[in-house]
């Protein structure tokens, strides 16, 4: 039981650090790093549930694969948006992106 | 032979193999075979004074060579040299080779950034582009061999080649893995990141002494390791007539390494955009076609 609770607490602390990063940073790339930490914490949770509660259900591992795919994809699309933003306004600071036009 | 004698002979043969590969590298650059050359270079770099650049990044400067060598040692420990001689028979062995090659790329990135010099940094970014690009055909060609063996144990992949070696069963996959192995160890003709004529030495331009020795020695060990991987995955591993198993592995992998250096001697350096174009436009579709072909032949 303490193995499961240790893994869940580790994932909770990682999620908290990721949330702090995603809310407090002004730069788009640093916000994305916070989001990646949150997804990593969710994956640790999933694998802990698979190992300690249901090792016969492999749909949980399928869920982890889908989460890894989402991590890679949101990185790619986020960097594409950062590239276009840098081209039009010269910086990727989110403080200056309050307007919808330009 | 007893297991202890076996592993001792294998380590001795590996160190001898690295020495032969060093002699071959000198031959591919200058054209004459010099059997005492590597020993003299080793001693020279070992006692050379260590010059550190101003305001280098301390963490990465120390970590990059250690990561490079550590990754290569990990890869050696999962490759089977004969049926009983594998240090760790990992259940996901075929995927682990690719994972280790990614960390070769990370260590080159660290080494390029750490020295705080323009040429090293640009060489590091070029190495990043080249190694990401050529990791894609590696993982797809590996998938095709795993499809035939129906397991990711490297010993099972060799056993599955009893009837027909993979080089004849999946020729497209062999060619792609061979070219990608040339590109991942940045040997000529793919040696833009560390070329002497290109960026004044590229990633290794500002390194001296023990660090440069670790990188050069590690690169030669990486060449031998990837040759053993080519032999295990495509050329039937340890299978052969009357010599003992591991001697066949080393003979075949030294032949593959010699062919790497022969190609490097006689081809001009490929330009950066051609390098990436050959990979993304022609290499990846060919790798997907290879998976399709192996699947069709397996189902027939």
């Amino acid at each position: 039981m303490e193995l499961l609770i240790t893994a869940l607490i580790i994932a909770a602390v990682l999620f908290g650090i990721g949330l702090y990063g995603a809310l407090s940073q002004t730069n788009l790339v640093m916000i994305m790093m916070g989001i990646e930490l949150m997804l990593g914490a969710a994956m640790v949770n999933l694998v802990a549930f698979w190992r300690y509660l249901h090792p016969e259900a492999f749909s949980i591992q399928m869920f982890v694969l889908v989460a890894m795919t989402v991590m890679a994809l949101e990185g790619a699309v986020g960097f594409a948006i950062a590239t276009q933003r840098f081209r039009t306004s010269g910086s990727v600071e989110m403080e200056e992106s309050a307007e919808l036009k330009g | 032979m007893t297991p202890f004698l076996n592993s001792f002979m294998i380590s001795l043969l590996f160190v001898g193999g690295v020495y032969v590969v060093a002699v071959l590298e000198r031959w591919s650059m200058t054209g004459n075979v010099n059997w005492g050359g590597p020993a003299r270079s080793f001693l020279l770099l070992f006692v050379q004074e260590e010059i550190k650049t101003r305001k280098h990044d301390k963490v990465f400067f120390e970590t990059a060579p250690i990561l490079f060598i550590g990754v290569i040692l990990l890869t050696i420990s999962i490759l089977p040299f004969s049926r009983g001689s594998v240090i760790v028979n990992l259940g996901t062995g075929a995927l682990f080779i690719n994972a280790a090659l990614v960390y070769v790329m990370v260590s080159l990135l660290m080494a390029g950034w750490a020295v705080n010099g323009v040429y090293a940094m640009v060489g590091g970014w070029r190495a990043l582009a080249q190694l990401i690009a050529y990791s894609m055909p590696v993982v797809m060609a590996l998938t095709a061999t795993v499809m035939r063996a129906e397991s990711m144990f490297l010993i099972d992949i060799v056993e599955s080649q009893q009837s027909l070696w993979n080089v004849l069963y999946q020729p497209v996959g062999f060619i792609l893995f061979y070219i990608s192995a040339l590109a991942i160890t940045f040997l000529p003709p793919f040696d833009l990141p560390v070329a002497e004529g290109e960026l004044a030495g590229g990633v290794w331009a500002d390194l001296t002494g023990a660090r440069k020795l670790l990188f050069r020695l590690g690169r030669l060990a990486l060449v031998l390791t990837l040759s053993v991987a080519v032999v295990v995955l495509y050329l039937g591993g340890w299978m052969g007539p009357w010599l003992p198993d591991f001697v066949w592995t080393f003979l075949k992998s030294l032949l593959v390494a010699a062919s790497f250096f022969t190609i490097g001697r006689f081809m001009p350096r490929i330009r950066h955009d051609h390098l990436l174009e050959y990979n993304w436009k022609y290499g990846v579709p060919l790798a997907l076609f290879n998976i399709f072909q192996v699947g069709v032949v397996l189902l027939l």
């Binding site: 590239t83 | 994972a99 990370v106």
Partner: protein
């Protein structure tokens, strides 16, 4: 009951948390990206300790490539890549610290006080796991897998389309 698995979980977990903390506390950009890589490798090691071998090796491999790409993008777009000037680039700091701490406490409370049932002890071997995962993908979860494939294709086309530079004479 202290077992080797618990000790390894605690060591790798503390490494992941420390490297994750260092991501936001350092001012050099490449160090930040590579510290995130170290945190992800520690998470992959956690997967290996919890006997999900394929997922662990996959995580370590993918995160290496992804974080290196992130390092080069940070170099391109951020103002002080070397980190030699000390700038504080955060906003609404108190709100975000409060949110992070609140979420951590909530999830930890849910983990400790919930009733999890019996703990399983029999786990298939890695070779069996890969085979069963393959069977799962191609039998029950085939629809999810194909949707993921089409989503990846859409993501690739979308990111290339967004990042293309439109050379319009009217824009200049």
């Amino acid at each position: 009951m202290i077992s080797i698995q618990l000790i390894l979980l605690i060591i790798f977990g503390l490494a992941a948390i420390w490297f994750g903390w260092r991501v936001f506390m350092t001012s050099s950009m490449v160090r930040s990206a590579l510290s995130l890589l170290a945190s992800m490798v520690a998470i992959g090691a956690l997967f290996l300790v919890m006997e999900a071998e394929f997922l662990g090796v996959l995580q370590i491999m993918m995160m290496g490539t992804e974080m290196s790409i992130m390092a080069i993008f940070m170099m391109m777009y951020m103002m002080d890549p070397g980190g030699l000037g000390n700038m504080d680039m955060t906003h609404q700091k108190n709100v975000s610290i409060a949110a992070g701490v609140a979420v951590t406490v909530l999830v930890t409370g849910a983990a400790i006080f919930a009733d999890w049932g019996t703990i399983a002890t029999q786990v298939p071997s890695p070779h069996e796991q890969i085979r069963l995962l393959g069977m799962e993908i191609l039998k029950r979860s085939m629809m999810i897998f194909e949707t993921a494939g089409v989503t990846i294709l859409t993501g690739m086309i979308a990111s290339i389309a967004v990042a293309l530079s439109i050379k319009n004479n009217a824009k200049k």
